[in-house]
């Protein structure tokens, strides 16, 4: 450490003495470990050879305990200020000293290990086998009765020609079944004059004779699926199926359900919803599960597992692919009808039929065909058994995991296994930020600080604040003056970036680029770290778009003009403008006039999605600060 070097020059005897005593102690420690290790191995080997596991444990345990204790004692001896706390001189923790000395080189391996960890997640060994925590559901006990004459009759009453009036038809079908049914009209202006949604929701309630009336199971279906096909079969199935629980059919997908929930929630009992998406087809290759909420919120793992148990024949492996999961999750766009429920602390999921290419029915042909009867029968039974299991439930799902990734059928990765990936990435940012700068910037008499040009930090902070202030303006403007901005957000954004970049470039020559970069890194690390618990995939996206370029940015201000221009171009390529433009179709902006900004903004309005604020207040400003850092001398 820099600190130490100076003291060694002074040749303080006390220091040297202290150091030698520590060294002696370390050597003793090594001896002790060296003693303990062969003993442990030998005893384990002997136990294994003689098949006397108990015997080997008896020998191994005291030895390992001894070695752990002696190790703890060493740490304790080196702990005048604590393991991580130490900042002064030779007696600091060896770990921290090492980290500081090599922090410049340490951050990249950390990053690499983090990325490798992430890539290793789909491996078989990373996942644990799914199990049930909640025994009250009695999943094996469910008895099904779906498929009677009346079910089929009700199903055949709905066909695609109903598009305009299906709500009323639906209402009458529910009514015929003896359900308590109502029509709910809604109209919603997302932002004045731009996004106008209107539609009709229908729901029917089957009142259970012996229930306490505080909970309900909900089966919901939207008239359009998330990729905009008619969700006819699901609505049909519900017609045959509305007998078990509350059933709701909505017109406008997620927004419709959101509005219905706002109207319904609080007046009626707690819900346990499941929604259906069955695109037109004669048969389904498998069933997909969609369960992510808008903010990365997930339902309890028990809820998911019960689907696997009952739907074991229909669930297809491919549909649960690990990486396909990640795609909709960070942005939360077009997730499914179940998404709004999670916000109200209601566990929910969507079941979606997967159709083979050759089984697809072209909607324009206008042939209203039912799927094969056995397909509907299977689906109906699967659903019913699940609903009956859920009916056994005595309390809110709480036993199993809320933080998990599903890499394959009947397997899950718990938070403890996947969070280290982000932890390592955050660590790489922190370690780089910790790297102290060359000592020669100091007057010899001054004490060492963690950012040596201490007197410059207000200037760095001012730069950061200025850039963030413009980000805040970008964030607030569409909220205050909606119409003008929203239609042309991307082009406005371009103008903004250019204006910003030029304004933040000037007047910055006194800032030290390492210091500026370190401060930004700390801030990004906090954001990524906090997000990772809430929404793992969004944290990853923020890290990849924001943290990674920041980690790799260095000052090229004194290089040749070509290098500087190339650096700027690369940074512009990873700027929000170009990323959002390139990935627009992936983010759900299918039509030309829709920009991803608009989608994020409306998600922010509807579901308090975090993407829009993160974009304006983190991604964009940090990208600009990267440009500033790279242009500094």
């Amino acid at each position: 450490m820099l600190f130490a070097d100076r003291y060694i020059d002074n040749g303080v005897t006390e220091e040297t003495a202290a150091r030698t005593s520590v060294q002696e102690h370390r050597e003793n420690q090594k001896k002790l470990e060296a003693d303990a290790l062969p003993f442990m191995l030998l005893s384990l080997l002997a136990g294994w050879l003689t098949k006397q596991t108990r015997f080997s444990c008896l020998l191994a345990i005291p030895h390992s305990a001894f070695s752990i204790l002696s190790h703890a004692y060493t740490i304790y001896r080196q702990l005048p200020m604590g393991l991580v706390l130490s900042g002064q001189g030779e007696k600091g923790s060896p770990l921290l000293t090492f980290a500081r000395r090599y922090s410049q080189y340490l951050s990249y391996p950390l990053l690499l290990v983090g990325l490798l960890w992430l890539l290793a997640l789909p491996l078989e060994n990373m996942a644990r086998r799914a199990y049930f925590s909640e025994n009250a559901m009695m999943p094996a006990q469910a008895d099904t009765g779906f498929g009677s004459q009346s079910d089929t009759q009700a199903m055949s009453q709905i066909d695609r020609r109903d598009a305009g009036t299906h709500a009323y038809r639906r209402h009458s079908v529910f009514d015929d079944l003896g359900l308590d049914t109502q029509i709910h009209r809604f109209e919603y202006d997302e932002v004045q004059g731009v996004g106008n949604h209107r539609g009709i929701n229908v729901h029917g309630i089957l009142r259970a004779p012996r229930s306490d009336g505080v909970e309900a199971l909900l089966l919901a279906a939207s008239w359009r699926t998330s990729d905009n096909q008619t969700n006819l079969n699901a609505v049909r199935l519900m017609a045959g199926y509305g007998k078990v629980c509350t059933g709701a059919v909505t017109d406008a997908g997620e927004i419709g359900i959101e509005k219905w929930l706002r109207a319904y929630h609080g007046k009626e009992p707690g819900l346990l919803p499941m929604s259906l998406e069955l695109p037109p087809a004669t048969k389904y290759r498998g069933m997909g599960l969609y369960f992510e909420g808008k903010t990365g919120q997930l339902p309890n793992l028990d809820f998911i597992n019960i689907r696997f148990l009952h739907g074991q024949k229909t669930v297809d492996d491919q549909s649960c692919c690990c990486w396909a999961r990640f795609r909709p999750r960070p942005f939360g766009s077009s997730v499914g009808v179940h998404a709004p429920f999670l916000r109200y602390r209601i566990d929910a999921l969507t079941l979606s039929g997967i159709v083979d290419e050759h089984d697809k029915i072209d909607e324009s042909a206008g042939v209203p065909r039912m799927p094969y009867p056995w397909v509907m029968h299977n689906l109906g039974r699967t659903l019913e058994s699940t609903l009956r299991s859920l009916n056994n439930l005595l309390e809110h799902f709480h036993q199993s995991f809320f933080f998990y990734i599903l890499p394959a059928n009947r397997r899950y990765i718990s938070i403890g296994d996947y969070i280290p990936a982000v932890g390592l990435m955050v660590a790489s940012l922190l370690v780089q930020a910790m790297h102290p700068m060359p000592a020669h910037t100091y007057p010899a008499d001054q004490h060492i600080l963690w950012l040596p040009c201490a007197h410059r930090w207000p200037t760095s902070m001012a730069t950061i604040l200025r850039v963030h202030a413009v980000g805040a303006v970008l964030f607030l403007v569409p909220l205050v003056v909606p119409v003008s901005m929203i239609r042309h957000t991307t082009s406005t954004a371009y103008v903004f970036t250019m204006a910003l970049a030029s304004s933040s470039m000037e007047n910055n020559t006194r800032v030290d680029w390492r210091q500026l970069k370190a401060l930004v890194e700390l801030y990004v690390a906090v954001v990524v770290g906090s997000l990772s618990v809430m929404n793992f995939s969004l944290a990853l996206v923020v890290f990849v778009t924001t943290g990674l370029p920041l980690l790799l940015t260095r000052s090229v201000g004194s290089h040749s003009k070509a290098v500087r221009i190339a650096t700027l171009l690369v940074l512009m390529a990873v700027s929000p403008v170009s990323v959002l433009t390139l990935a627009r179709t992936h983010l759900g902006a299918h039509s030309v006039w829709m920009s991803p900004f608009r989608i994020f903004l409306s998600d922010f309005h509807h579901y308090s999605s975090l993407v829009y604020p993160l974009l304006c207040l983190v991604y964009w400003p940090v990208n600009l600060l990267c440009m500033v850092v790279s242009m500094l001398p």
Partner: protein, 438 residues
């Protein structure tokens, strides 16, 4: 704020008109800072009332049962209808606040907002004055320094700015947490104490103690400030006696007005940790977990842990009682029963007064990060626990522990920085050596 302002040569080397000019410029800057800080708060309160109401007002990190504005309004409503404000067990704040808001309660909302903003700006002003006093008052400015130390004075306007533009403090004022008035009394007590006006200082300390109990600890450093002018023992005895009389007078007056209920609802409520609503402190989780029969024992232990620091900390820094008082403010912020981010904001606001210690800090990277993570994770974990229901109380408490660890690391780092500096002043030749305390 640019570099020149910070590293400008000290005024002593300049000619007299230059000093006056610099002083006037500094004053202009201070006024600008105060106006800008107040304007920012007013804009947030006026333009985004819905955001404040929905996302900030209910935050447990910003307002606690003993500082919440909602509860103050309840007390005001009850007393305006001739009922005791402490009826119903919602209002737990000092009756002094009822007196203060008696008239604004009947006026439009903006008057109440302005009272809070003015109080906050006044805190910033007094902080600037304290910094100014450290530079100008002879007993502070004529101290010996460390030879070869760069003069790098943090001007008063910057101290005021760091307090006023601290996001934690902006949040606290915007949600109208009444801790602001406690802050004002605390800084006034310090300011008066520095100027030797011990009676006024003791009076403000009594008000602060009445508003939030724990600032009663400040009487010890104030007594030591008084001790600079006369015999130490008699000064301490006199100051403590004056303080006791002031507190007792307030107590008797309010007991006559509201009866025994007043004491139970305010001091007793804080001391016994009666409300276990989560906050950024250490008490709530522990007292939720504990069996009822051990409660009284542990609240004594916990409260003593906080209060016991008063004498030793003040005595260790007896040569700099103001610094002792700042350390106590930090202790209060970390260990009080119902802490909030606002308490930390006052501590952070007071630290730049001793700006020369910053270069002695050894763990600034660590505690800076811990505080950032503690502050960033608290709302996230709250969201996971309360809003989504996928987390639990341990999540939020973990964030609280990070925050507390950061605060305590910061406290002891500043303490050891002060000790190291004292050593450097008394023995200048050791200043380039590492000192290790075994």
């Amino acid at each position: 704020m640019t570099e020149e302002k910070q590293s400008a040569p000290r005024a002593s080397e300049q000619t007299k008109p230059n000093i006056e000019l610099a002083a006037r410029r500094e004053q202009g800057k201070l006024i600008k800072v105060l106006l800008a800080g107040s304007a920012l708060r007013l804009i947030i309160m006026l333009l985004f009332p819905q955001f404040v109401e929905q996302h900030l007002a209910g935050r447990v990190e910003l307002s606690t049962p003993v500082t919440s504005y909602k509860r103050l309004v309840e007390g005001l409503y009850l007393s305006s209808h001739g009922v005791s404000p402490f009826d119903g067990g919602v209002f737990h704040q000092s009756p002094l606040l009822l007196l203060l808001f008696k008239i604004p309660y009947y006026l439009p909302e903006i008057v109440t907002n302005l009272v809070f903003i003015l109080a906050d700006a006044a805190v910033a002003l007094v902080l600037a004055k304290i910094t100014g006093a450290r530079h100008s008052l002879p007993q502070f400015s004529q101290r010996a320094g460390v030879p070869g130390e760069q003069a790098f004075a943090c001007p008063p306007s910057v101290v005021a700015m760091l307090y006023l533009f601290n996001p934690l403090m902006i949040g606290t004022t915007v949600v109208k947490s009444t801790i602001v008035f406690s802050h004002l009394a605390v800084v006034l007590a310090l300011y008066m104490g520095m100027h030797g006006k011990i009676n006024a200082s003791v009076g403000w300390a009594a008000v602060a103690a009445h508003l939030s109990l724990y600032p009663a600890m400040l009487v010890v450093p104030i007594a030591l400030m008084a001790g600079k002018r006369q015999m130490l023992r008699s000064a301490v005895v006199q100051t403590v006696a004056k303080f006791a009389v002031a507190v007792l007078a307030l107590h008797v007056a309010f007991t006559m007005a509201f009866g025994k209920q007043y004491f139970l609802a305010t001091f007793d409520f804080t001391l016994r940790v009666a409300d276990l609503q989560p906050n950024v402190g250490l008490f709530w989780y522990f007292f939720i977990e504990i069996f009822d029969e051990f409660r009284s024992f542990f609240f004594v232990v916990f409260q003593l842990t906080a209060l016991a620091f008063a004498v030793p900390v003040s005595w260790r820094f007896r040569r700099e009682p103001v610094f002792g008082a700042i350390m106590l403010v930090g202790v209060i912020s970390a260990l009080k029963a119902y802490p909030s981010w606002g308490d930390l904001a006052l501590f952070l606001g007071l630290l730049p007064v001793y700006e020369e210690l910053f270069k002695y800090l050894q763990y600034s990277f660590l505690f800076g990060n811990l505080l950032m993570y503690g502050i960033g994770l608290a709302p996230v974990f709250w969201h996971l626990w309360i809003e989504q229901g996928s987390g639990n109380a341990n999540f939020f408490y973990a964030a609280t522990l990070v925050y507390e660890f950061g605060q305590i690391t910061m406290l002891f780092d500043f303490g050891s920085a002060m000790l190291r500096r004292e050593l450097d002043i008394s023995e200048p030749e050791t200043r380039t050596h590492a000192v290790i305390q075994e």
